[in-house]
């Protein structure tokens, strides 16, 4: 087993560590950095519970090696609130009841943030398309879509 030194910035904080070349980025975030908001769902890139922004792009962190994320900037769910203030998409998820069991929620929040940054006023179809990589087994997606629309209105107002 080989080890390699990596530098990864997570939610603005630099983390320098030496890790196994086999370590998944998801496990690096959850086990090494102890940030468990990013969820462990399928380990095959099918459910989206582990979605993070890697250099601004949403990816499934369960199918990326930690060493391949060397020198990158990562945003996880823990980085959405600033100075104890929830971001608008988090507020909208609460207000609209978009989280039930909440296990998929971190991934949905990250995918939604990416969408709203790229496209501040998305249509329902555009939201469905962007969120199609995230599975939710509880809500039937209605209230998640309601929340993204609500956040888009409040962010632009």
């Amino acid at each position: 087993m080989k080890n390699k030194k990596i530098n990864i910035t997570i939610n603005g904080q630099k983390h320098e560590s030496t890790v196994s070349t086999k370590l998944l980025l998801l496990d690096f975030i959850r086990e090494n950095i102890n940030m468990t908001g990013t969820k462990w769902g399928c380990l095959t890139g099918d459910c989206g519970a582990c979605t993070i922004l890697l250099n601004g792009i949403p990816v499934n962190s369960c199918i990326i090696l930690a060493v391949d994320a060397d020198d990158s900037e990562i945003l996880t769910v823990e980085g959405l609130a600033k100075d104890g203030q929830l971001s608008q998409i988090q507020k909208s998820f609460i207000e609209k009841g978009a989280a039930q069991c909440g296990y998929c929620t971190p991934g949905f929040l990250i995918s939604s943030k990416y969408l709203l940054d790229k496209k501040p006023n998305p249509t329902e179809d555009e939201i469905r398309y962007q969120l199609a990589g995230n599975l939710c087994r509880c809500t039937g997606y209605n209230k998640i879509i309601d929340a993204v629309i609500d956040a888009s209105k409040k962010r632009s107002s």
């Binding site: 959850r30 102890n34 940030m35 468990t36 908001g37 990013t38 969820k39 462990w40 769902g41 399928c42 380990l43 095959t44 099918d46 459910c47 519970a49 996880t76 769910v77 823990e78 959405l80 609130a81 929830l86 988090q90 998820f93 609460i94 207000e95 609209k96 009841g97 989280a99 039930q100 069991c101 909440g102 296990y103 998929c104 929620t105 971190p106 929040l109 329902e124 939201i127 469905r128 398309y129 969120l131 199609a132 990589g133 995230n134 599975l135 939710c136 087994r137 509880c138 809500t139 039937g140 997606y141 209605n142 209230k143 998640i144 879509i145």
Partner: protein, 766 residues
Amino acid sequence: MLLKKGVLNLPKYSAVGKRLPRKDAFNVVTGAALYGVDISLPGMLYGKILFSKIAHGRLKKINTKKAENLSGVRSVITHKDFPDVVTGTKNDKPLFSRNKIYHKGDRIAAVAADSLEIAEKAISLIDVEYETLPVLLDPDDSIKDDSPVIHEDVNPPEWSPIKKNVCAFYTIKKGNVDEAFKKSDIIVEDFFETSMVHQGYLEPHAAVAQVNNLDEVTVWSSTQTPFGLRSELSDSLGIPLNKIRFIHTYTGGGFGGKLSLTVEPACVVLSQKTGRAVKITLTREEELISTNPRVTVKFHLKSGLNKKGKIIARKVKSFVDAGAYAGSATGVGRMSVDLGVGPYNIENVDSECYVVYTNKMSCGAFRAPGSPQASFASESHTDHCAKKVGIDPLDFRLNNVWVNGSYSHTGQKLEGIGLKDSLEQIEKDSDWNNISLAKNQGKGVAIGMWMTAGSLEGGAWVKMNEDGSVSVVTGACDSGSGATWGGLPMIASEELGVPLDKISIYIADTANTPFDAAADGSRTTYCTGNAVKDAAIQVRNKLFESASKHLDCNSNDLEIYDGVIRIKNNIDNNVPISVLAAESKTAGGQFLGGASYVFPSPEYDESTVGGDMTSGSFIAPTFAVQVAVVEVDEETGLVKTIRYVATQDVGFAVNPIGVEGQIEGGAVQGLGQALMEKVVYGEEGETLNPNLLDYKMPTALDVPYIESSYVEGNFADGPYGSKGVGEPPIVPPPAAVGNAIYHATGIRIRKLPLDPETVSSAFMSK
């Protein structure tokens, strides 16, 4: 887009019925909520389970030497480390395989190691010798005379006409169907078959166990029933209940799949052996080979109708594929025999159901266990009946359904049911008579019936803190619905006049909360909600007693409003709750309430039921009615849901956001079962699609925006007239979609899922 209707003018409430946030929401959206997979303790070891390589046979020899010698392995366990006990509804399930192997999900051994990687390596070093037996994958094969007996120690029910591999048998009979068929103008016959589907909770089973030097066991578990698991573990390992503490972590969905022990016994025994905390998380693959999904049921149906469109007689014969153990299949059998007939006034009924062992995953309690299967059969068949008699399917149902005062097939008098109201509501919501349809498009309606598991106890304490804030303490847990995190604090707020932000809720730790059965059976608001309401009323009464001394008046003259107790006709004469709460510490004692609720089952006519039926009635029956509009691609067989409309009989919506969430989420989970989901088995009893790419669940692109509503006013005994909400909405989609496909194409598809493969082959054999 929400279409909501109140049938009656409901009383004005201050908290319940409002759109208020859940108590867990902040932790969930910030990633702070700790789920089972997130729990980590100092010195924790990682566990891994070895599952059987064969689906049916005998265990000859296990050699764990090589695994034990691997560096970093701390313990290897097999059946020798467990008491020789069997569990389950028919006492047919060993914790770890001892002699017979019943399916590929059977547990052979488990290891605890310093890392998951070492544990995985150790598992691969365990040598197991098996003797194989023929694998049975279909109840039709299991009941054949020349098939092997799967459970040699389980006696088939003596009253069952079929014995081979049958573990339970149920009947409902009334009137005389054969005579009635002779008198019928029209006879309709059908066969339908459902598929095995998995709950698909996003968080896999995960638990951490720590056993201390006093042999006290603490388990953190992603579960729907901490008290249920405590009891099952106690029975399995012979540890008294007071020495076992189950702590419910945040739970990433359950849908009935997290109601029995899975990883916990191995965690506990490995912790006993090592003295260290042990964690086991199932992989998605292990979930899809070893857990407890919804099983296949096959239905043969025959109905006799008169020309006016009344159902005179219905005969149903069903076969439940239990899988390796009776598990929840006995419940599915009990539901199939009853709900397979459908929620209609029919004078002559003859229904029987056989529950049959095979070598597949054992049946679990997936959301409304048994009802989606029964609804697919009876509601597709009923649609066929409507077509044969030439009446619109919605009108046909309105003519035949149970109304208040009707009697169920087992003679239970039905009261407070909103089935007819719900049918009328869906007619309006969907604009049924004017739905515009293009070529290859069709509409379908279906009813789903369920009830409320009021016979399972719910308990809660309510205590007022010395600053006037309130703590609700309950053994109820929450696997996502929000009945606990959302609804229960609203009930306390309503009864105490204390705003929601001054109420906290502490849940589901068997050491320090009152007993509560489970987050199942659509029961939390119904049972635990009543317990919270009663406990809060006890606190309120004590507050009034204390306030009456302050205000020099009778308790009966007082009311509570926004944190203040005041005299009804003299509201300026008042005292804040916080003053009374502070005083209580030095005089009179704290304001504390506690209650538990359990409901008796309604009466029924015992002469109608037979076989293994031990109960023939339903507490607070509920109904979901849904309409699908679909487009069918005749070339590829792809069915697209263009519109989906769902309504439900809820009594009263304590937590409207939660109620809508259940209806919308249930409809989509049901659409998955209708259109895409199926656990596929190979000839050797192996799951062929044990991952979420091949076991496909609906994404946001696969479903339309669900048009949801609910019907209030047909009250039950839940708080404020509420009844169970969580399970009914998953029931109608398979039949609603199947009926819409028929309407679009004239082809009746008899097997789930209604995926391109099934639909296109039905077209080819047209």
